[in-house]
């Protein structure tokens, strides 16, 4: 196998990005709960403490606001911390430090201070973890000016975007779908590369409908696109990869070409990422549309525990397929 064909899981790609940046820049360090010997609850960081030591892969007390704030202060004074928040659902605990401190310090100081911080956290339902360990809260972060928000779908993007995030002088939030750490595998070159923040990716070309999908929903969209192929509908799948800054142009150009769009994100549908994306499409491609822009997000309910119920809350390929078909006037 040549290096260009090398495959890594999503989790391995993230770990490799962190390891490379830890090697490259002594200012980088990682902190969070059970990230050192335990390698995180998802075992994504296994082995890093052995290479970099407990000072650079730092286990913290169970004090999410405290160690997030500590990272903000360290970032303001010469370090480049990567904060690990085990579950995105714990965002409620840290929002003051992220939204009121990290996001605003550069602006409030008239550009004098900066906060080069990366906040890694998880998203995604389907793990039977119930209402407080399953949410996809990227909309919360995307609402706050001053933060960049990254939602990589593939191992390649996860590694390249993580490296860009660590090198960025702004606070960057990366939401990783916990269900993809081990199950998603893909090509990741061994050679050095980065993926720029703010550039969407066409995951699949098509002509009849655009499926704009984020994170794990990219796979839902790709599965739906295959099903649509079989009924003669050609779907294009666009992955924004970063929600802030957003590559509007790639999305809008695609919809101008296909004239139809469905936006899919695993966050709650109400007031969510899908609403923002759909409104941009409606604004900027209105005269090209042959059908209303449709949105699919998580159901507006707390994520239930029972598999029979939980699975109902997440958009799936069949749902996207059905909606796409109806938009293309097939029933």
């Amino acid at each position: 196998m040549s290096t260009s064909e090398r495959e890594l899981t999503y989790g391995e790609a993230i770990k490799e990005a962190l390891a490379e940046e830890l090697r490259r820049d002594p200012a980088v360090f990682i902190l969070g709960e059970d990230i050192a010997e335990a390698g995180t609850t998802f075992k994504v960081l296994n082995g890093l403490v052995e290479e970099f030591g407990p000072e650079r892969v730092l286990d913290t007390p169970i004090s999410e606001p405290g160690y997030t704030g500590l990272a903000v202060g360290a970032a303001m004074t010469g370090m480049r911390p990567v904060v690990d928040i085990m579950f995105g659902d714990f965002s409620g605990l840290i929002l003051d430090q992220v939204a009121n401190q990290a996001a605003k310090i550069h602006y409030m100081s008239g550009g004098k201070l900066k906060v080069p911080l990366v906040l890694r956290t998880t998203m995604g339902a389907g793990r039977r973890s119930a209402a407080q360990h399953s949410q996809s809260l990227q909309a919360w972060y995307s609402h706050i000016p001053g933060l960049k928000v990254v939602v990589p779908a593939t191992p390649y993007d996860a590694k390249g975007l993580m490296k860009s995030a660590i090198r960025d002088d702004n606070p960057v939030v990366i939401l990783e779908d916990k269900m993809m750490y081990k199950t998603v595998k893909g090509p990741v070159p061994a050679e050095e590369y980065t993926v720029p923040i703010g550039v969407a990716d066409v995951k699949r070309g098509g002509t009849d409908i655009t499926l704009v999908a984020t994170s794990s929903m990219v796979y839902v969209a790709l599965d739906a696109a295959k099903m649509l192929d079989e009924v003669g509908i050609s779907a294009e799948v666009i992955d924004p990869r970063t929600l802030v800054p957003l590559d509007k142009q790639t999305i809008v150009e695609s919809v101008k070409k296909t004239s139809r769009a469905i936006v899919i994100d695993e966050g709650y549908e109400q007031y969510g990422v899908t609403a923002e994306l759909a409104s941009i499409i409606a604004d900027e491609a209105f005269y090209y549309l042959d059908a209303p822009v449709k949105r699919m997000g998580a159901m507006n309910v707390p994520i239930p525990f029972s598999p029979a119920l939980e699975d109902l809350t997440i958009p799936n390929a069949k749902g996207v397929f059905d909606m796409a078909k109806s938009l293309c006037n097939q029933s």
């Binding site: 360090f29 000072e55 913290t60 007390p61 004090s63 606001p65 405290g66 160690y67 997030t68 704030g69 500590l70 990272a71 903000v72 202060g73 360290a74 970032a75 303001m76 004074t77 010469g78 370090m79 911390p81 003051d96 430090q97 009121n100 401190q101 310090i105 550069h106 602006y107 409030m108 100081s109 008239g110 550009g111 004098k112 201070l113 900066k114 080069p116 000016p145 001053g146 960049k148 960025d168 002088d169 702004n170």
Partner: protein
């Protein structure tokens, strides 16, 4: 008492007077409707900011609070850029985008005032963490009021500071009132005991006596600089004015006699000047000289700020991202 000491105490008197004159001018700007928004005056508490900051180097860090003008000035900020910021002018420390509650000045180690009560405790601890990692020998002081003792973040920060022996000094300015509520109605148990529970070195000082503040701060700062860990300084003080400039009728939460007593019996400027006079280290003339010179400086600064241009509209979108 050496000449050096004398000069240093007089310098501290000047700094305290500078803060007071600045704040009195702020109050006037508010009352004459020349200042947008509100401000939280530090008058009465000057000895803490000055005593602590005089124990720091210019490179050491501070984090401040909504009642932060005194901290900024004591750490070396200049009154003209301070006034300009309070008036929302482009010449202000933050181009008018921060205002009274968010003055930051990296040139003097000021990591910013914070309008979330207790909000900077973890940031200060993080700056201390970075200093330890980078080995730059800097100490960080986190100023906060006793109201912040209600915030969990303060205790998370203290825990990490002691756990990792970080060079951070938590300076609690107990001015008795959490906004409009006496601390006895909000704070159970012992204030000192909170930090002691973490094993943090805890000292209690008369926050109206700048000599006591300075000498105590000097000890805990140098201890932290040597790598011996954080400290908690509980400073007893009093806020002469209301919670903010608009808090005029205060008798529903504190009696006028109490305010009068602190002003006449425990004023930090008078306490220092009396001590210097008693020890024949100064005569009344020197204080008049200092006050007159600072008053001139403050007047020139406020004139500068009033005449300074407002930020251009395009400033609104600058500095959202680096």
């Amino acid at each position: 008492m050496s000449e050096v000491d004398r000069e240093h105490w007089l310098h501290m008197y000047e700094q305290m007077f500078r803060i007071r004159a600045f704040e009195e001018q702020v109050n006037e700007l508010y009352q004459s409707a020349k200042m947008p928004g509100l401000a939280h005056l530090y008058i009465g508490e000057e000895a803490i900011a000055v005593g602590v900051c005089e124990a720091l180097t210019r490179e050491d860090y501070i984090t401040s609070t909504h009642r932060g003008h005194g901290h900024c000035l004591a750490k070396g900020a200049s009154v003209d850029k301070m006034f300009a910021e309070l008036l929302g002018k482009d010449a202000g420390y933050c181009h008018g985008k921060g205002g009274s509650m968010h003055i930051a000045d990296q040139d003097t180690g000021n990591l910013g005032a914070n309008a979330i009560v207790g909000g900077s405790s973890a940031i200060a601890t993080g700056a201390a963490f970075a200093s330890k990692r980078l080995g730059n020998g800097r100490v960080t002081v986190c100023f906060f009021g006793e109201g912040a003792l209600g915030q969990g973040l303060v205790y998370e920060s203290m825990n990490m500071a002691q756990l990792w022996k970080l060079p951070v000094i938590f300076v609690c300015e107990n001015n008795l009132y959490n906004e409009y509520t006496h601390h006895s109605e909000s704070t159970a148990g012992s204030m000192k005991g909170r930090a002691e529970a973490f094993g943090i070195l805890t000292v209690e000082v008369d926050g109206q006596n700048v000599r006591e503040v300075y000498e105590t701060a000097g000890k805990v700062v140098e201890r932290a600089r040597k790598g011996e860990g954080p400290a908690f300084m509980l400073c007893h003080t009093y806020r002469y004015h209301g919670h903010h400039v608009g808090d005029i009728a205060r008798e529903y939460y504190r009696p006028k006699q109490e305010e009068q007593l602190w002003k006449t019996e425990r004023d930090p400027l008078t306490t220092l000047s009396n001590w210097l006079l008693q020890h024949q280290m100064a005569d009344q003339g020197i204080f008049e000289q200092i006050e007159s010179s600072v008053n001139d400086e403050v007047q020139a600064a406020v004139t500068f700020a009033l005449n300074a241009p407002l930020p251009a509209p395009e400033e609104v979108s600058k500095h959202v991202y680096v």
